[in-house]
């Protein structure tokens, strides 16, 4: 099993796409992936510090050639300003999960310990369930989800990865990252 995970990781790329903040741009990007047969693992979109630019973080599976095609095809979309692949870059990657987990009285202590270890927070509590907020990389989230499954997860949502390069380098808004 660990081998398959490694294989997947080798093929997984986190790319950041800067796009004009126009209606329909998400459809263009999503449509491109669908049409060319590229699979999106996760997708997070929001506006940037510049209200005219949105930033998408897309996690895709594929080898080097597939990624090169994705990058080039994305760059062909008129509303795409820049595409950056963070695979080879030192980058911070974060995913946020909200997990509604069964929390009967006799389990609450254990769950709170787990949450503490993973530096999560309990943000809602009722007589039968907690909502836990936890942030981190994909692996960390996978782990806590795995641990919480023992108590019964009622509902879960994840934002998908967002990423940013370490250091002072930025995904500049001008100029295109081609070739």
């Amino acid at each position: 099993m660990s081998n398959t995970i490694v294989a997947q990781l080798q093929q997984q790329h986190t790319i950041t796409v800067l796009v004009d903040n126009h209606p329909g741009v998400l459809a263009r990007v999503a449509g491109l992936f669908a049409r060319r047969g590229y699979n999106i693992e996760s997708l997070a979109v929001s506006v940037t510090d510049n209200p005219e630019i949105s930033r998408m973080t897309i996690v895709v599976n594929g080898d080097h050639r597939v990624l090169e095609q994705i990058t080039k095809q994305l760059n062909k979309l008129v509303e795409v300003t820049k595409v950056v692949d963070y695979t080879e870059t030192a980058a911070v990657e974060r995913d946020l999960a909200l997990i509604k987990v069964n929390a009967e009285a006799h389990h609450r202590g254990e769950i709170m310990q787990i949450v503490e270890i993973f530096r999560g927070r309990i943000i809602d509590m009722s007589d039968k369930a907690f909502i836990i907020e936890v942030t981190g990389g994909t692996e960390k989230l996978d782990k806590i989800i795995h641990l919480l499954e023992a108590y019964g997860i009622r509902e879960m949502v994840r934002t998908g990865i967002i990423a940013m390069a370490r250091g002072s380098k930025t995904a500049s808004r001008t100029g295109r990252d081609t070739e």
């Binding site: 329909g24 050639r65 008129v78 001008t174």
Partner: protein, 604 residues
């Protein structure tokens, strides 16, 4: 001046140098048609079906290099353009499609004749845009034209809601129309772009080292207007040139260094040349599957230089040894300067030997065949006519037998393979080239897909000559069913077709029928004298004719079938008089492969 969106639109089109709009009115474009009523310098051509409008704009663009313009109303009008837009997109043809849209206040409410045309055409346009404010209209039009014609050309679409074309603002085209379009996220390579020095050096070196080079030239050479450069490069290096379906005309096809089309139905000698090459110089071509067949077996011994304006084409199908991104004309101009002259070598002789060993042939039994008809078109129209085709067997025969001596003389739907394209594309080309004769070669299947445009041709006095190669069947599909589906002929019989002669007469044109070679020649000569209305020649050919050579889908040159191979082999397999059937396929292929192998050995 206070102007409506519709008036602004026409001002902008005028500014872009538009001379013809191919369109069809409707509710959502009423203000635009009202403005057209007062517009006398831009000619509006009323088609009979919006698909015809998009193909006409396409034919106009292909025959000139200018941007073709089509116009349709919202909903069904817009969706009827779709096939034409997709056709233009696949072949990188500059086109601006303008569609009406329902009022902005009811968009998304399933209003009458509402269709999300920007959503629908997203994957088949280079870019499209819904204009929600009349203030944005001029810049949207400027961008649409700029994007359509720059870089790798392609269709764009501007969707204009009814209220946007009706609303009025102060507008002066001289000051308010963008003189330059600046889109920070769109920076295509241009005709004067930077040439990558290092890659050029590598290319020059590969060419110097090559013993068996071949130039493989596609539609990109036409788009960038590089016929002179392709020819000059070939002549300087004595490298033979094979062209793709869309590259026809990138070199005069009667030039001694031109070896015609390659690929599935390409010349056997062109395919042998590519298959045995040690260097393939791809120029504005995209390694389409109809060219490569099985990619794993395509030009395996060759190093590859790939010149293309679109970076995404590099490595999409085949990883080149030397990628050069840029405008073909620009790159070739520089390459010609840098490359060392080469003499013709034994390799050139070898290809010429193949040319003699594997010529294009059709039965010389005195009967009328499509190939003969095409040769006669060449001759009777002095190798000067523009040839538009539909899609199917006749298209491949035309690709093989019609000889282009210049670019933009050949108009065909390559990538999408759109039946129904030929007639409207020919009409569009005729509007753009009133001094030329335009021939539409079609089939009895294809012609019926847009035949209503004969009326458009009659109304505007367009003397397009349509030669219908009539085999009373959907020939290309029938050919595949014969060869690969055990002769189980499913839904290919077109015995029941209209009388095309009477039909064109009903449309107000001239109809003639030819069942012999003499009749065909006579009909073409007569057609040449008709200059004010469309002509249709119903050219009756045998049903069972097939297109050769043929490399079966997804296979390689080794599996190429030549006419005499298959016919002879069939005859020998069934000397006892039985009919040939699919079960013989393997035996036939074995023998064909031997013939192919003999060809390859003689290369050594």
């Amino acid at each position: 001046m206070l102007m409506s969106g519709a008036q602004i639109l026409l001002e902008c089109l005028r500014k872009e140098g538009v001379t013809h709009i191919f369109g069809y009115p409707g509710g959502a474009v009423l203000p635009i048609y009202d403005a057209i009523f007062d517009c006398h310098d831009i000619k509006h051509i009323l088609v009979r079906h919006e698909q015809g409008a998009s193909h006409m704009a396409d034919g106009f663009a292909r025959s000139t290099g200018k941007v073709g313009v089509c116009l349709a109303t919202s909903g069904p009008g817009a969706t009827n353009l779709v096939t034409g837009i997709a056709t233009a997109y696949m072949d990188s043809i500059p086109m601006v499609a303008i569609t009406g849209q329902v009022r902005t206040s009811v968009i998304g409410k399933d209003a009458f004749q509402e269709a999300d045309i920007t959503g629908i055409t997203m994957p088949i346009t280079k870019h499209n845009r819904l204009v929600k404010r009349v203030e944005d209209l001029a810049s949207a039009i400027a961008e649409a034209f700029y994007i359509a014609k720059t870089g790798r050309p392609g269709p764009t679409l501007v969707d204009i809601p009814l209220d946007v074309s009706r609303n009025q603002i102060e507008f002066d085209v001289e000051t308010d129309y963008p003189k330059q379009v600046n889109i920070p996220s769109y920076r295509p390579a241009g005709p004067s772009g930077r040439v990558p020095d290092l890659q050029m050096k590598k290319a020059v070196q590969l060419i110097a080292e090559a013993e068996r080079p071949v130039l493989y030239v596609g539609g990109g050479a036409i788009a960038s207007g590089a016929q002179a450069e392709v020819t000059a490069l070939a002549e300087r290096t004595n490298i033979l040139v094979t062209t793709t379906l869309l590259g026809k005309g990138a070199i005069d096809e009667t030039h001694p260094l031109a070896i015609g089309m390659l690929g599935m139905h390409g010349n056997a000698y062109a395919n042998h040349a590519v298959n045995n090459a040690d260097l393939l110089i791809a120029v504005g071509a995209r390694f389409d599957d109809r060219v490569t067949g099985n990619v794993e077996k395509f030009a395996v011994g060759a190093r590859i230089i790939h010149i293309d304006i679109d970076p995404a084409e590099i490595g999409k199908v085949i990883q080149p040894d030397v990628p050069i991104v840029g405008d073909v004309k620009n790159i070739l101009t520089e390459l010609i300067k840098q490359v060392q002259p080469r003499e013709a070598t034994a390799w050139n002789d070898q290809i010429m030997e193949w040319k003699e060993a594997f010529p294009l042939v059709y039965p010389n039994d005195g009967n009328l065949y499509a190939e003969y008809a095409i040769e006669q078109v060449n001759e009777i129209f002095d190798h000067d006519a523009i040839m538009a085709t539909d899609v199917g067997q006749h298209q491949m025969w035309a690709a093989q037998y019609f000889k282009c001596n210049r670019p933009r003389q050949w108009i065909t739907s390559g990538g999408l393979g759109t039946m129904g394209f030929g007639l409207p594309a020919a009409i569009g080309a005729q509007f753009a080239n009133p001094e030329k004769r335009v021939i539409c070669l079609s089939g009895d299947g294809s012609i019926q897909m847009c035949i209503q445009e004969l009326m458009t041709a009659t109304v505007y006095g367009v003397p397009v000559i349509t030669v219908i190669v009539n085999n009373r069947s959907l020939g290309m599909v029938r050919q595949w069913q014969e060869m690969f589906y055990e002769e189980r002929y499913s839904a290919v019989d077109l015995q029941a077709s209209p009388d095309f002669v009477k039909l064109v007469e009903a449309y107000g044109g001239v109809g003639m029928r030819a069942t012999t070679r003499e009749q065909l020649r006579d009909a073409l000569v007569k057609a040449k004298d008709v200059t004010d209305r469309p002509v249709v020649i119903d050219c009756v050919i045998p049903t069972m004719e097939k297109v050769y050579p043929m490399i079966p889908s997804g296979q390689s040159v080794k599996e190429m079938m030549l006419r005499h191979d298959l016919e002879q082999v069939k005859a020998s397999v069934h000397a006892d008089g039985e009919t040939w059937s699919f079960s013989d396929e393997e035996r036939v292929l074995e023998q064909v492969v031997e013939v192919g192998a003999t060809g390859a050995e003689s290369a050594e």
